[in-house]
Amino acid sequence: MKVLIANRGEIAVRVARACREMGLRTVAVYSDADRGARHVRDADQAVHIGPSAASESYLRIDRLLDAARASGADAVHPGYGFLAENAAFARACRDAGLIFIGPSADAIESMGSKTRARAIARRAGVPVVPGTDDPLDAAASEGEIRAAAERVGYPLLVKAVAGGGGKGMRAVDEGGGILDAVRVARSEAGSSFGNTAVYFERRLQRPRHIEIQLLADHHGTILAFVERECSIQRRHQKLVEESPSLAVTPELRQRIASAAVKAARSAGYTNAGTIEFLLDEDGSFYFLEMNTRLQVEHPVTELVTRVDLVHWQLRLARGERLSIDPDRAITPHGHAIECRIIAEDPDQGFLPSPGLVRALRAASGPGVRNDAGLVGGEVVPVFYDSLIAKLIAWAESRPDAIARMQRALREYDVIGIKTTIPFFQWLMREPDYIDGRFDTTYLDRVLADRRGAPFTTISETEALHLTIAAGLDAWWRAHGGVAPDQAGPQSAWTRVARLDALRVR
C-alpha cells in the first residue's frame, strides 16, 4: 500500500512515521510555500499541488487526486483540518479507487451537520444540549426567532449548522440581543462555511469539554477510549489537552463512553473519530459534536493506553478487525498532558509569529514525546495554521506529569521566533490549573482579567544575565568574531572548514 498524505506540518509527519513503521510507502503533497518543508523531506515521493494559498493547494480535491494518480498511491490519509471532514473528498477518493483512511462519506456528511448529528445522538438515546431540533427557517419572522429562543431558554448560543472552531457562533444572555446575534451568526456562517443555517443551543455556565476517542472496524466493533479533557481553550481553540480528566470517575467514564459508542453506531461509523461532550457541573453530560477524523490531541490517549491510533487507522482502512482489549482502552495508565507549541506570541494577544526557525531544540528524554512539523532551518509560513509542534508529557500521576511538562518546557527552544511556550510555563504553575479547577470558560476569563500582562517572566538575575550575554555577543562581533580561545559567531561553514575535526579539543 502506498499512502498519499493530503496534509502538511506535524500531522503529515506523524502519519508518515506510522506508514514507515508499517512498511508502507508515502507520498507528500506540497504547495509553493512548503517546497522545503519537513513533511516533504520525510516522504518517499512528493507532488506539487499548487500555490501557497490553501484554497489553491491543500483544499483542491482535483489536484490531490491528480497527485495520487501521478504517484501511484493506493490510499489517502487526510490528517486533520483541510479536507479531513469533507464528504465530497472522501467520496471522490473512493470513486477514484483510492482507500480513504477515515469514515465513509455518508458518515462524514451525517456528522458534519450539527443538527443532523444532534438528531442521530438523540435517536441513539444520547443526551444532547437542550436546543432547537432543526435549523432555524431562513425565512423565520422576528417573532418566530424570539419564540424559538424562548423555548430553548437564555442564556443560549446561536450556532452555525455547518460550524466549527467558534465561527458562526454567538452567545446571547437575554432576549434583547437575539435578533442581532442571529444576523451576525448567519453572515459569518455564510462567509466561513457557505451555509447560513443556524440553530439555538442552551448555554451551559461552566461546562468542561470532555471527548471520547473511538475506533471502529468494518465488522461491527466500536471501541471507546478513556476520555480526553480539553477545557483549556482560548476562544474555542484548544491549547492544552490531557487524559484522563480529573472530573470523570470510572463510573461516569463508562457512561460517557457507552453513549459515544451508541452515537457512533447509529451513524454507521468506521475508522477513528471523536465524540465531544460538554460535562456540566452537576455531572450531566451532553453530546456536542463528532469529529470524523484524527484529532490534534490524539497523543495523550496513545500515552495513557499505549495504543497507536494512526497504526490502527491504517489497519482498519485495510479491513482488519479491532483486536484491542476494551478494558485496556478505557483504563488510563498514568496521566498525559499535551501542550500545543504554536508560532504565536502570547504576550501580544497570541498574535501569529511566523518566520525562520534558525534552530529547533526540542525537549526529549524520559516520558516526553515531541511531535514536530519542522526541523531547524525551516520557515513557518504565514499561510497555514501556526501549530509547529506538540509536546506531550506522560507520568505516573497528574502532578508528576505537570512537573515533567515544566521540565520539558524549560528545555524546549524554538530559536528565531516566538511561541506559546511561555504561556504554558505560566499555566503549568497556576494553582487553578494544578488543582484542576477549570472549565471551558476558564482561560478566556483569566486572559480578560490579566489585561495583556505578559506570560514571559524574567527574574532580575536573568535580566542581568541576558544583558551580559548580549553585551558579550556584541563584543565578540566587534572583535571579528573569533578570540583565541573562543569560537566566534561566524558561519559554521567557514569555521569548520578551517578545523580538522579530529584535532578539535
Partner: protein, 170 residues
C-alpha cells in the same frame, strides 16, 4: 568596550574587557563581575559566574527584525534585547516612541475583518483597534498606549501586506 543594552524595559550600561582564560570583566551600571563566557554552537552563549555561587546560564541570541534588536532564547522563553539603539516594536502592532504619533501596522499579510475604532475616538492603552485574519486566526491588533485615533487607513475586507499602516494614534 561599552554598550547600552535594553532588556525587559530597562536599559543598562555594560562595559566589557577580556580577563584571560575565557573570562571577562563585565561591569553593569557600575557593578563589576567576572564571568566565564563562551560561545556554544551557532547562536549559543554559555555564562558561568564562578564567584557568584557558580551560577550557569545558557542563552541563544539571534538577530531580531530591527537593527540592533536581538531575540534572546532562555529556557523556553524568547526575550527581545536592544543593543545600542532605540527599541523598534516587533511581533507586535505598533511603531513609535512613548510620545507623539503611533502607527498600528499589520505584522503579517492578511485580511482586515473588523475596524473597531473611528477617526477621533479616544482609545485606552492595549485597546483592540483592528482585527486582521491571518494564519487561520482572527488577530486583534491593539493600540500601544492611550490616545486619540488620528487616521484609520483601512476598511473591513481589505487585504493588507505586512507593514501596512492600519491606524494612526496621536
Amino acid at each position: 568596550m561599552t554598550f547600552e543594552i535594553e532588556v525587559d524595559g530597562r536599559t543598562r550600561h555594560v562595559s566589557i574587557e577580556r580577563a584571560g582564560g575565557g573570562t571577562f570583566r563585565v561591569s553593569v551600571d557600575g557593578a563589576p563581575t567576572i564571568v566565564d563566557a563562551r560561545r556554544v554552537g551557532e547562536f549559543g552563549v554559555s555564562l558561568l559566574f564562578p564567584g557568584d555561587a557558580h551560577a550557569v546560564t545558557a542563552i541563544d541570541l539571534t538577530p531580531g527584525s530591527a537593527p540592533g534588536e536581538m531575540l534572546a532564547h532562555l529556557a523556553g522563553r524568547t526575550v527581545p534585547v536592544i543593543v545600542n539603539g532605540r527599541r523598534m516594536a516587533r511581533g507586535g502592532a505598533a511603531t513609535g516612541s512613548a510620545h507623539g504619533e503611533h502607527r498600528v501596522t499589520a505584522p503579517m499579510p492578511g485580511r482586515v475583518v473588523r475596524v473597531l475604532v473611528a477617526r477621533g475616538d479616544e482609545v485606552a492603552a492595549r485597546q483592540p483597534v483592528v482585527v486582521v485574519e491571518a494564519m487561520k486566526m482572527e488577530n486583534e491588533l491593539r493600540s500601544p498606549r492611550a490616545g486619540r485615533v488620528k487616521e484609520v487607513e483601512v476598511v473591513a475586507g481589505a487585504s493588507v501586506e505586512a507593514g501596512r499602516v492600519l491606524v494612526v494614534i496621536d
